[in-house]
Symmetry: C2
Subunit: 352 residues, 2 copies
């Protein structure tokens, strides 16, 4: 059986689960490499992927005997079959943050489940710690993002619209990677004060500030980087805010390491922002992997510690409504010794 | 208050619901035009959109006094506020097919809800019947899809890869619309036997069959069309299967009208396929709107009737594993008098 399925089974044993239903396609891909509609059943004896006629041919071409996964077409599964999958299971786990209330009720009925237990943490915890192959993929996605940003610095000039710049990024990612990891943000001038601005037809103007939040995918794994750049010299206020964000981003970089407390790191940024009459309005960062946002979330509510081989973002930002915003973000690998930034684009005040 | 919010309130009254939580962003967009993270509360007295600091500026710029929507930043809402929203509500509705099990439990706790009732059907039913503005948007998305297909017929030639063709479609949609409504399918040769094939690096060859499933978005509304075309004259077997699919697609077109039973329509296609030793392996169609797949699903399980101003797809397909597949699909408006096809590209055997 592949290592990841084995790891799930080990964690299930620790939680006294005799069976589990995996419905989230991202978790299914993580455990099996299958990208198709269906559900994965982990029963006492087998790993079973139930799909439908549209995917049978494809799925059978993906799995290897080593995986130990049985593939079934749902149209061949009877009512009795469903009720037998978890027949002697006292507790069956499910993904409570993915499964809808409606599916939850349906699974209990269809599989005649005695005790349906919230067990998504098994997958969340496994996926938080990246293995060599995953880190290599994210690293590659980060390199391509750095290359894209290098190209942008030479390309962006007044007159281009935010949409045109976003499209340049999308094209680059389509050529060099599997496309964008999320909708690229290009927010210029006063638009930069909205952390989640959508690229508009606004033209870049002299003296603009531009926030670009970008990332791509390699073998499904994401990169995530933000840079805030200036068209011509920044104002005094912009310089002050930029330096405040940059200093905090660097400070966080120094604090990231295996064992560091997430709440403490976040608190120190929030305090420094407050001292300077600013607010930290969004999370300081998040895990990155097969999804652009995964565990852990770096915020004040998270009292857990960073662990070796987590991949997270470090992205403090300050937003002055109706005026401008600054965010600086890197994708970072947590190691025993400290942070290893996987995105390496320059972040000292960039003037184009 | 806007018509759609008023319609929800009317339906809530019929179900004895005094409050409702709307969490699905598509439903929130449908009811309010807001595209931001947050939840919409329909309480006895008010419509309240709770969001966070990242979106306050944007949301306030979208809503009008006529909407009668109060916008709140979640950081200003106390524990007591949450418990007071539905204080004198006996029953509060929620979207059981969207809300996860984990959210379900969290809402009950946070809002101190007495009786949390599955009520997603309210939104599903409202969204099934399109108003004038919605139909105009889908119509426009269909026109652009027809224009794109016209361009393709002049562009596709042996030597191009599936990915290159898919990219041509994506570029067209990015220029003329809001991009793809779903991941474009370009499946050539034996790949066409997989209904959900992903565009590959396979080059188009002489004598190929090519299935192209494509659609774009206008103001959030989708179009959906599939054509199967031939590079050079089809084989006898291909012609036979193509005609079988086409005849059934046309027959369905004749049967679609306000009041027609969905199960009956589907059954007649399935029977004709079976008589000809073929199988209908996927649904005959689905609703189209703000989402590419919405209610109603056209399959044997659906014993409901079509209604005026539904927009649905009509997409029979036959797939011969390892060999080839044929699917022909249009987006169709249901009227009192019959079907009005919104995609109008030719569908008699197309040879390029």
């Amino acid at each position: 059986m592949n290592d990841r399925l084995q790891a799930v089974r080990n964690k299930m044993m620790g939680l006294n689960l005799q069976g589990m239903i995996i419905a989230n396609p991202v978790n299914i891909r993580y455990l099996t490499k299958i990208e198709a509609e269906g559900i994965l059943l982990i029963t006492r004896k087998e790993n079973i992927f139930i799909t439908d006629g549209r995917y049978m041919e494809y799925v059978s071409s993906i799995i290897t005997p080593f995986d130990e996964i049985v593939v079934d077409d749902q149209k061949n599964i009877s009512k009795d079959d469903y009720e037998n999958f978890f027949l002697f299971c006292e507790n069956v786990g499910f993904e409570e943050k993915y499964v809808t209330y409606s599916q939850y009720k349906e699974y209990i009925r269809k599989f005649k489940i005695n005790n349906f237990v919230e067990a998504e943490e098994i997958l969340i915890h496994l996926r938080m710690i990246k293995d060599e192959e995953e880190i290599a993929n994210i690293k590659r996605a980060c390199e391509i993002t750095d290359a894209c940003f290098k190209m942008l610095k030479e390309t962006i000039h007044p007159g281009l619209t935010e949409k045109q710049i976003a499209r340049t990024i999308q094209d680059f990612y389509r050529d060099q990677a599997e496309g964008e990891a999320f909708e690229t943000i290009v927010a210029s001038g006063e638009n930069s004060s909205k952390p989640h601005a959508v690229p508009s037809d606004r033209q870049i103007q002299p003296k603009d500030i531009i926030t670009i939040d970008m990332g791509c995918k390699i073998n499904g794994y994401c990169s995530d980087m933000t840079r805030t750049i200036f068209v011509g010299a920044p104002t005094e206020e912009q310089t002050k805010i930029y330096q405040l964000v940059l200093e905090n981003q660097k400070k966080v970089m120094d604090e990231i390491r295996d064992g560091a407390n997430i709440k403490t790191i976040t608190k120190s940024v929030e305090s420094d922002f407050n001292v300077n009459c600013q607010t930290l309005i969004h999370a300081l960062g998040h895990g990155v992997g097969l999804e652009i946002h995964e565990a852990p979330t770096l915020n004040l509510k998270n009292d857990n510690s960073l662990k070796e081989n987590m991949v997270i973002t470090n992205e403090p930002g300050i937003y002055i409504p109706g005026n401008f915003g600054v965010r600086i973000e890197d994708t970072v690998l947590v190691t025993k010794k400290g942070a290893m930034s996987l995105t390496e684009s320059e972040k000292e005040c960039i003037i184009i």
